[in-house]
Subunit: 478 residues, 2 copies
């Protein structure tokens, strides 16, 4: 009972003094410019396990650390360490985004700290999120009945879609062991994880055969469903992919939608990687049927170039998301007024969360939509270019890229190809100027060239090809 | 196949030109200073439903909008609208945080966009998150076997804990309808929502009687469990609260831990609101037994003053979180020993997400821990002060505040008290200088004074009391 009567000014304890604030602004903005300036010449991978250890020298303590030390440790341990998702030469996994306007959007969102979960709390923040969602619903071809939710990434977004499917079917828990989910070997593993999280770990998973493009075979799907019905199981969920993580394969969505409708199965499309390629007019036909999906996942931190932490679930019928996620309580009683705008919390497993709409709204407003379309079209062109050129450099390729991911590998005349490519990968990672990842499909180890960073252009792709050719030749395997 | 050969410089499409970048830096930093300078005199609630509608005048279009227009619309629609969680006069719900260093942490995190999900991708970012988690584990009294995960908020954090409990018990889905969860009427509703999301919507929920402080009665709990066992149900989860949302009540954690251990029930503590009050030495005894909980939820965006989007789940035994969230459970032991640093994705329902550790690490390093302790102690002192002074102003109070939330109401000599307080609330909201919320417990409508914003000091509390007294008197009800 002393602090409030003391002469000490508590108001300053968690606020910066004006001179410290000025210093911080200068420090951050200098770092910002330097960071962006350093990207073209910097490495895409700095595999220094030890670099992170500098953090251990700075345990949290009662008093502040000097600002220079904080920035040095951050720079050494985090920025100069591991994979650089901002590098134009990052071609691994699904490459990261991170456009600068989104970082400012996050800053403004966190500074003003508006509550974006419930309309009553901030009708502006809620309207902003809903505006972003409507734009996406429109992009996939959904009508006014649709809605969605901004989430942290593909895993939670897929989980939210799967829960909606489960609840729509009104399955009782005792039936979970007879419920069947259809997907392919190439479906992202977060789907299986989501089933388990949703309490359906005992559900039956059917891996539907694929064609040589790693796309689901619709006729095989139909046959399996019929057999499952015959033996008394409950087909309830079909997962289509619109851009698999491994190869970018797109399942025949229109056919799958028809089969799902016939059997009254929920059709969920995981377009986490590929979804925003819908912005490219020339690619829209590949996604035909996506508008018939019951739910769709897209990750703005992938094909919309946002920083990590942006996933979205869209549903064709808003009520399906509402049914699973709506819940109210006495302490929210003030919020019942003003329901002209849908509250995100009613359509999401989250109540309070990061004001994710801000980074999206700010970036889409600052740049307009056109540059996103153009950059995505460029990625497709670059992939086709890469697919042709990497063969000239003596590599074997996988299927022609459906989107912006190519599989390729070096096949030596003598010796084991998988072993040779494992070695080559190690050399590429040790070099670090470019970053690529790998995958194994049907026992074959492939190197993956995933082109999606908005800073990747022809120069970076040419550099990647030259680097891999040079390292391959240095191995002295024939 | 034209874009990569054209003369157009695609590298500029999603990057700002130097002059635009300078302009943006100036714009943001001016906004930052103005925003903070405006807080002391600004309103805590601006209930302008129409303000958000300016956004509709700015639909996403192919081309950019002028930067001034973007900032104007953001300011009008979002910042000058609804509840201001940054205001020192915001005493509603659980008040928001939003310290400025966290906003810069978010900026730096989004700019450099490091992948914090898997150790290989960025050992520094992962180590940083783990350092934050270890510090919290230590705070609650957990030993080296513990671990946790940084999530978006209390809802997903509670969901993650409940899933861990479900999986630890190795319940089959067909048993869900016989599984029993114990909580009180005052448990946050996200727990019931989480049960439903986790596939356990049919589970049995027991509302354990409370004492007059709204804390769970341990002897009642024990009796109910024994009866449930007798009739063949499966008691599996006990939820304790360490700071309920309504009143800040703390359940008798030590007693509950003992009962849970006796019956081999998972003991989960929701300390989303109250958890960081553990930093105040004088309050630690109230949390006695929390270190025996199997899992604990805390929200750094509440009692650690971070911006929205910071929740954390901690588990006493890391393996319990790993079991639910690691995708292939087969190599469980080997993997846990083999990893020099634990990967967040293995302990979280998320794979890719916002690099949440950064805002926390940056803030704890920039300020040190001491100011957090002092400001939290100040909030407790202010609550005791408020509790005494509001009575002098002619209001009736609820139980003495366990933490920083007080219930109070105006009881007129004639007429309905609930009606009078509903009217008073409407007047307070219309005035907007302060913001408080309300709740109904056992049919009684209470106004809630929740003191947690770090900018709330004695001046703001005095102002709140004066404002409410004045508005109450203006109603002319006796």
């Amino acid at each position: 009972m002393n602090s409030i009567h003391s002469t000490k000014d508590f108001s300053d304890l968690l606020s910066l003094q004006p001179e410290d604030r000025s210093q911080l602004i200068k420090k951050v903005t200098n770092y910002y410019i330097q960071f962006l300036d350093g990207l073209p010449e910097g490495k895409a991978y700095l595999g220094d396990e030890d670099a992170g250890k500098a953090l251990a020298s700075m345990p949290f303590q009662e008093n502040p650390y000097p600002i220079d030390q904080i920035f040095d440790v951050f720079h050494q341990s985090v920025t100069e360490n591991g994979i650089n998702p901002c590098s134009g030469k990052h071609f691994g996994y699904v490459p990261g985004g991170g456009i600068e306007t989104a970082a400012w959007g996050d800053f403004l969102g966190a500074l003003t700290n508006r509550y974006s979960g419930i309309n009553f709390a901030n009708p502006g923040a809620v309207r902003m999120e809903n505006q972003v969602i409507s734009w996406m619903c429109n992009l996939v071809g959904y009508d006014h009945r649709s809605h969605g939710s901004l989430l942290s990434g593909g895993s939670i977004a897929n989980l939210t879609g799967i829960i909606a499917a489960r609840d729509h079917k009104e399955l009782k828990a005792r039936d979970f062991e007879r419920a069947v989910i259809y997907l392919t070997d190439e479906t992202h593993h977060c789907v299986q994880k989501a089933l388990r999280l949703a309490g359906m770990g005992e559900a039956v998973i059917r891996y539907v055969p694929m064609d040589e493009q790693f796309s689901m075979r619709p006729e095989a799907l139909d046959a399996i469903i019929n057999e499952d019905l015959r033996i008394g199981l409950i087909p309830f969920l079909l997962i289509g992919s619109a851009g698999t993580t491994n190869t970018g394969a797109i399942d025949p969505l229109d056919n799958l939608a028809g089969i799902a409708a016939n059997h009254q199965i929920w059709f969920h499309v995981d377009a986490a990687y590929g979804g925003f390629f819908l912005l490219v007019e020339a690619l829209r036909s590949k996604f035909k049927g996506i508008e018939k999906a019951d739910s769709i996942v897209m990750d703005p931190h992938k094909s919309l170039f946002m920083p990590y932490g942006s996933g979205v679930i869209l549903v064709r019928n808003a009520e399906h998301l509402f049914k699973s996620n709506y819940y109210t309580a006495a302490y929210l009683q003030d919020d019942m007024e003003g329901q002209d705008e849908r509250s995100p919390a009613d359509y999401s497993p989250e109540l309070t969360r990061h004001f994710r709409g801000m980074r999206l709204w700010f970036s889409l407003s600052m740049f307009g939509i056109s540059p996103f379309r153009q950059v995505l079209a460029e990625k497709i062109d670059l992939s086709h270019y890469f697919y042709r050129e990497i063969q000239k450099a003596g590599f074997e390729v996988g299927p022609f890229p459906a989107l912006s991911i190519s599989l390729f590998r070096y096949v030596p005349k003598d010796g084991d190809a998988n072993e040779a490519n494992t070695k080559l990968l190690a050399l590429i990672h040790a070099d670090g100027h470019i970053f690529v990842s790998s995958t194994t499909i049907l026992g074959v180890l492939w190197i993956r060239m995933a082109i999606l960073v908005f800073r990747a252009h022809r120069k970076e792709v040419d550099f990647a090809i030259k680097t891999m050719e040079k390292l391959k030749n240095s191995m002295n395997i024939h």
